[in-house]
């Protein structure tokens, strides 16, 4: 073969990928391949190979039913749209169950611990990786990496931090990373960014805040005319209150450290009474003054809805949740929104999901085909564009064509690349601890406690949970 295909040649790979996935017709592929300088015989070989690949895949799993458990956070819409496509392309009858985070974790745990899982593939939230993957319930995927679609581009197209978080896990050490792959990042990722009304900022002569003091000043100044200066996730016990609002304020301060010691050494000690921890909560208390009267009942949906309805000038939010504020169909302020990295350093918590195959699943091979399709560039691009959930791939975050339509994507991608894994995400008690802190912090936000007292109470509860879990003597 005179024309060697350079795997780094993205244009060639994209064309082959398009052919295999059905995005390009045979005629379009031939035109593009000719433009790329391939000979007729090479094009013929490629067409034959692609034809064989899709036909073989289709025959292999014809009539198989694959059940998957996914998050009902917008991903389900894109999955639903492609059920027919999956059937057509692979012969797989895909059935999906989409649940909110809490019920999904309950359902996943029930299945992982049953003799046989009803689900052949399950989406795992980063904060429950330690519990589910760490518990040894998922099958390693390393050996399957040899069988991925053309142009899948694993691992290069995924941010390394996300692969460490919702990909590789060391079950012996109970730590993120390692060499064994259990999950493929997806079906969505994301971190936290600042969404703001550029029209209101411009008319008030303000620039996007780069410091937390600036954030508060902007909130105060913009809190006029029936528009709240800012909004928070302030609902008692809401995990996003801790992760989005508190942690972003906390981690962007010099010297902020959530824990000291390690669970393995049984000296894992919380530092919620540190000056940085109290300052972060104090800042939230100040921000409540320039928020809607109902802010104490806001979860992320309420916060997003208020912003989309034009009632809020600025908010910190999961980028994957906030995307639809750019969509004119769901937002009255679609043309007036801009985004910025979080003040103080642009750091935020690493969010996201991974999809894996339970050890006790029945149709592992067919499940792998479904996973590689649902985490492919093709599906992710479709999903992001249509439903504005955050992708996990660099090529989607920084795709110029997508950025034109969804201008927040490159900023979200920038934060996503350097987002930090929550320090307590490596133990099974993560959710309990986050929930406990968010309950105590709510006391400060409602004015029934000082920030320092709330942090002290949260710290005490964390100590109790860590001791009970055997992570602290």
């Amino acid at each position: 073969m005179t024309d060697s295909i350079d795997s780094r040649d993205s244009a060639t790979m994209e064309a082959i990928d398009g052919l295999v996935t059905g995005q390009l017709t045979r005629q379009d592929f031939m035109k593009r391949a000719a433009l790329l300088g391939f000979s007729a015989s090479a094009i013929g070989s490629m067409l034959a190979a692609a034809g064989k690949a899709s036909a073989a895949d289709s025959r292999l799993y014809a009539g198989k039913t694959v059940n998957i458990l996914i998050a009902a956070e917008g991903d389900d819409l894109g999955v639903k749209d492609k059920v027919g496509e999956i059937q057509k392309r692979f012969g797989i009858n895909l059935k999906y169950t989409a649940l909110a985070v809490g019920p999904l974790i309950e359902k996943a745990n029930q299945n992982l611990k049953a003799p046989t899982s009803s689900f052949d593939a399950i989406m795992v939230l980063g904060f429950s990786v330690a519990q589910m993957v760490g518990g040894g319930y998922f099958a390693p995927l390393n050996s399957r990496l040899g069988k991925v679609p053309a142009g899948y581009d694993f691992p290069h197209d995924f941010p390394s931090g996300e692969l460490q978080y919702v990909g590789y896990f060391d079950t012996k050490k109970g730590a993120f990373g390692g060499k064994t792959l259990y999950l493929i990042p997806g079906l969505h990722g994301g971190s936290v960014i600042v969404f703001f009304r550029k029209d209101l900022f411009a008319s008030a002569g303000l620039k996007p805040p780069t410091t937390w003091a600036g954030y508060l000043t902007a909130a105060q100044k913009l809190n006029t005319g029936g528009v709240a200066g800012n909004s928070l996730i302030a609902k008692s016990g809401d995990v996003s209150m801790f992760l989005v609002d508190w942690f972003t304020r906390f981690i962007n301060q010099p010297g902020a450290l959530l824990m000291s010691g390690t669970p393995q050494a049984k000296n894992y000690t919380p530092r919620l009474t540190s000056p940085q921890a109290v300052a972060a909560l104090d800042h939230m208390v100040s921000c409540v003054k320039f928020a809607s009267p109902g802010v104490l009942s806001y979860d992320f949906t309420a916060s997003n809805d208020a912003f989309a309805a034009g009632k809020t000038a600025m908010m910190l939010l999961w980028s994957t949740i906030g995307g639809p504020v750019y969509n004119p169909k769901s937002s009255t302020v679609a043309g007036k929104v801009a985004v910025a990295v979080p003040p103080g350093g642009g750091k935020a918590v690493r969010g996201g999901w991974g999809m894996g195959i339970p050890k006790n699943a029945k149709n592992k091979d067919a499940a792998w085909t479904v996973i590689t399709y649902l985490t492919s560039k093709e599906w992710e691009k479709y999903q992001t564009l249509k439903y504005q959930t955050d992708p996990t791939r660099n090529s989607t975050f920084f795709n110029p064509a997508l950025a034109k339509k969804l201008p927040y994507l490159p900023v979200a991608g920038k934060v996503f690349q350097k987002a930090q894994i929550l320090q307590i995400a490596n133990i099974p008690e993560t959710f309990e601890m986050i929930g406990a802190a968010a309950e105590e912090f709510a006391a400060a936000l409602s004015g029934s406690s000082s920030a320092a007292d709330a942090c002290k109470k949260a710290n005490d509860r964390w100590v109790g949970i860590l001791q009970k879990g055997g992570h602290l003597k």
């Binding site: 008692s236 009267p293 104490l296 009942s297 009632k311 099974p428 309950e439 029934s448």
Partner: protein
């Protein structure tokens, strides 16, 4: 012999059902309450009374007991008073009473979790109808569900809205069946409306009121769904009830042993409570 076979045939399915769905879970959860579950290793470890020791030394557990007691006694008292008053009112046989009576019992037909979600919307400080009405008449925004000192009272109000009709139905049914001659005799003897109520109506209604109160008391004691839908135990755990705490520990944090211990404390309290109540208030079978 044939009779024995019939008994087995008729009772067998019920006994099997009871064993499978009541006795077995009850015994299993009792054992679980003496064990600790490790969710990562999916293993159980015998810890004796460890869960109970931890439970009784946990200040939060005692706060939850307080909330549950407040909801049970406060809520049920309110419902009994209002339900009885409503029954007496509707006993006047006013025009259109049948239609209004039908409307009054509607809340009872709704699922508590739906009631929770519905009231959460109605009480929303930003766009809820109640706060809109309050601001129209010059009041400030009321933080019904977000102020820790207010949320439990709101929970009781919503519970009362839903379950007063139950007390009403029970008491009203009894009221309809009261003997007329006793009241006629009282009237002939010159008893005023209040005296007839104090010395005739209420004593005669007492078995029905006691039944409604005990039934509602048990129900309120194990309230979970309304809390889940309305407040999710917050803010700052100010509306967390024993059932909700058991749910949270069991199904959210996977402390199955600890959750079983909470459930067993509830079972014991319920058995003792109902026994004591039945001793004080004698409910004859024919009165119910």
């Amino acid at each position: 012999m044939q009779r024995r076979g019939e008994v087995l045939l008729l009772l067998g399915p019920c006994v099997l059902y009871l064993v499978a769905f009541s006795v077995y879970p009850l015994v299993t959860s009792l054992f679980r309450s003496f064990e600790d579950y490790n969710s990562q290793q999916n293993t159980w470890r015998w810890i004796g009374l460890g869960n109970y020791r931890q439970l009784f030394s946990d200040t939060e557990f005692w706060h939850t007991v307080e909330h549950t007691a407040f909801l049970t006694f406060g809520g049920v008292a309110l419902q009994v008073v209002l339900g009885t008053a409503l029954a007496l009112f509707f006993n006047q046989r006013l025009r259109g009473a049948t239609l209004v009576r039908g409307l009054v019992i509607l809340p009872m037909l709704l699922t508590p979790v739906v009631v929770g979600l519905m009231w959460r919307a109605l009480l929303n400080p930003d766009w809820g109808m109640l706060n809109w009405l309050a601001t129209q008449v010059g009041f400030h925004n009321v933080q019904w569900l977000t102020d820790p000192s207010m949320a439990l009272r709101t929970l009781i109000l919503v519970d009362t809205w839903q379950w007063t009709p139950f007390v009403f139905v029970v008491v009203f049914a009894r009221l309809q069946a009261l003997p007329v001659d006793v009241f006629e005799a009282g009237e002939v003897d010159g008893a005023t409306w209040f005296k007839r109520l104090r010395y005739l109506t209420l004593p005669l209604l007492m078995p029905a009121i006691a039944f409604a109160a005990i039934f509602r008391g048990i129900d309120a004691f194990r309230t979970f769904d309304l809390v889940y839908g309305l407040t999710n135990g917050g803010p700052v755990r100010s509306t967390s009830t024993l059932s909700f705490q058991a749910f949270q520990n069991g199904f959210q944090y996977f402390h199955y042993g600890y959750a079983s211990a909470i459930a067993y404390v509830m079972v014991i309290v319920a058995i003792v409570g109902v026994t004591v109540m039945l001793r004080f208030v004698r409910v004859r079978r024919e009165d119910i």
